[in-house]
Amino acid sequence: MKIGNFKLRHYINYIVIGILTLVLGTMSLTGTRFDNSLLFLLEKVAISIILAVSLSLVVGFLGELSLGHAGFMCVGAYLGGKVATLLVPMLGNGPLTFLIALIAGAGAAAICGIIIGIPALRLRGDYLAIVTLAFGEIVKSLFQNSSDDSFGGSLGLETPRYDKHYLFILAFLLVLVTLAVIQNLIRSKHGRAITAIRDNEIAALASGTNVTKYKLLAFTLSAAFAGVAGVLYSYSNYTVQSAKFGYNYSIEILVMVVLGGMGSINGSILAAALITWLNTKLATVLTGDLAVLQNLLYALILIVIVIYNNAPALKGFRDKYNLGALAEKLIKHDPARVKDDKAKWDVVPTKISMDEILSVDLVPQDHDQGGSK
């Protein structure tokens, strides 16, 4: 299915999320009262998707390990929440306030992204991971030790209460915006440059690629969207507490990206939704004495997924029931056409297997400059 430059397969994720938003949004706006826990879950899923997709830009496509994503989110949550609280008496608790808070949160996080991006130009691998980890912890404790009337200190910052029946629609619209920006960027010459830096930085430089520009771009954009997720979080939770944004949360986001397959946006989306749902479900099912099992089961399930994610049988199943390919088949069944499209199918960057990730990230890359002998 190809209309001009439009390939259905490339946009299947927009379409699925778009339809979902449209259906649930219309139901909510026309008076269906959803259960509060469902609304809360939807918001959480949207936040996770934005976080995972934005982190995958840095980890999956630029190939740098960042362990500070929750730190950027924290900046967005506090700044966005604070701006919203200040604006509500003036502008009311409406979409305008939300928009301004969103811009403030994303902007502040983006500035932090630039600050972290600068050491990223010199450090790589484990060393960069340590810097980003430290950044996340510093941000967390800065807000934790803020005075009570600035950012609420250890008690947390109270944020405006927004009608839950609208908020999840806004959240999903923001998911679509995130996807549009990051996916369009990746499927362009700029994304190609970023992927080239991941594959071989020295060769990218020797081919005239401005590595500085693209590294900063990836870090800044990724941080900005983490900020967006943070603002959403502050609206969704009524209160922002810095304890939430520790390295545990950063790693949870990283797990979503790795589980989804590095360099696969759709994978990140699915993994984000799945992990968030799993977490929430475990928390509601296992109550009382069984609550101790929550973390244990969660970890067990993750281990099983990691081990079997690349099992041949499961891979075959995924290829066979690939949503994009399936949709194309439904619309027009023409084997020659499908084959032809497959040949042109060179726009989305390739996935890297789990084994490669595990081996590559922990082993320092070779730094020799053209192998002088």
């Binding site: 020295i202 060769a203 400059q369 053209g370 002088s372």
Partner: protein, 257 residues
């Protein structure tokens, strides 16, 4: 203005601490020449390449490209000024397709300018530039006989083709001077012959000047118009290929003694 030499280095040198890796190297390469840089292992040949591509900053001397002094440039800027290179140990974008490997090099040319905003908002310029680049990349790949492989991953190509792809990628940046670091290393006689043909074709078709490092002496003798021999970081001999290769000093440096 037409400079007498396309590349002229004047007393180029670099030392790492007390070690003078390359000292007082002066090369004069005319336009459209295939020029060889040879020497025993550790003579500093690749270091000269790294100096010319600004991977290292020279501690002494300078070099001029087409009569213009190149100084204080980063490796990506020197590439845009017109010096492209390949690597001794092949450096491709392994997880990208062949055609995209070439496109990465193409896209830094001014004629394929397309801002980040153009791409994110999918403005008409994005589609136009992508289409033009893809066509141009295909054209380049056809010259190197890689058109059939264009949708394969670079890492899945056989060795000879990987070497060719690296040269194609370097050419995609439309350089004035092409630096090839041991292009024939690891190739069988058949592939070497094929490579020599390709390099001549590049010179003729793209009006290119080539500076190459090579250990295969018959390859050098057959292909290069002039050569310079390096030994212990300094120039041992230079001039017409046949004369230099018969120089007893050069033979002694290679064989020892």
């Amino acid at each position: 203005m037409m400079a007498q030499y396309l590349l002229e280095t004047q007393g180029l040198g670099i030392s790492f601490g007390g070690l003078k890796a390359v000292e007082n190297v002066s090369l004069k390469i005319k336009k459209n020449q295939i020029y060889g840089l040879i020497g025993p292992n550790g003579a500093g040949k690749t270091t000269v390449f790294n100096l010319l591509t600004c991977v290292y900053k020279s501690t002494t001397g300078k070099f001029l490209l087409d009569g213009v002094e190149m100084k204080n440039l980063s490796p990506d800027r020197i590439n845009q000024k017109g010096i492209a290179r390949t690597f001794q140990n092949i450096r491709l974008f392994n997880n990208m397709t062949v055609v995209r490997n070439v496109m990465v090099a193409l896209q830094n040319r001014p004629e394929y300018k397309c801002s980040i905003l153009d791409s994110v908002l999918r403005l008409p310029r994005h589609f136009r530039v992508e289409k033009e680049m893809r066509a141009k990349a295909k054209e380049l790949l056809r010259i190197f006989g890689l058109e059939e492989d264009r949708n394969n991953l670079a890492c899945n190509l056989p060795y000879g083709k990987q070497r060719k792809l690296e040269i194609a990628r370097a050419l995609a940046t439309s350089p004035k001077l092409l630096l090839l670091d041991e292009p024939a290393a690891g190739m069988n006689p058949q592939e070497t012959e094929d490579l020599a043909r390709t390099i001549r074709l590049i010179r003729d078709q793209f009006d290119m000047t080539v500076l190459l490092i090579e250990h295969d002496m018959s390859f050098v003798a057959e292909l290069c118009d002039e050569i310079t021999v390096l030994n212990f970081g300094t120039v041992l001999a230079e001039g017409d290929t046949q004369t230099v290769l018969q120089d007893p000093e050069v033979i002694r440096a290679y064989i020892g003694g």
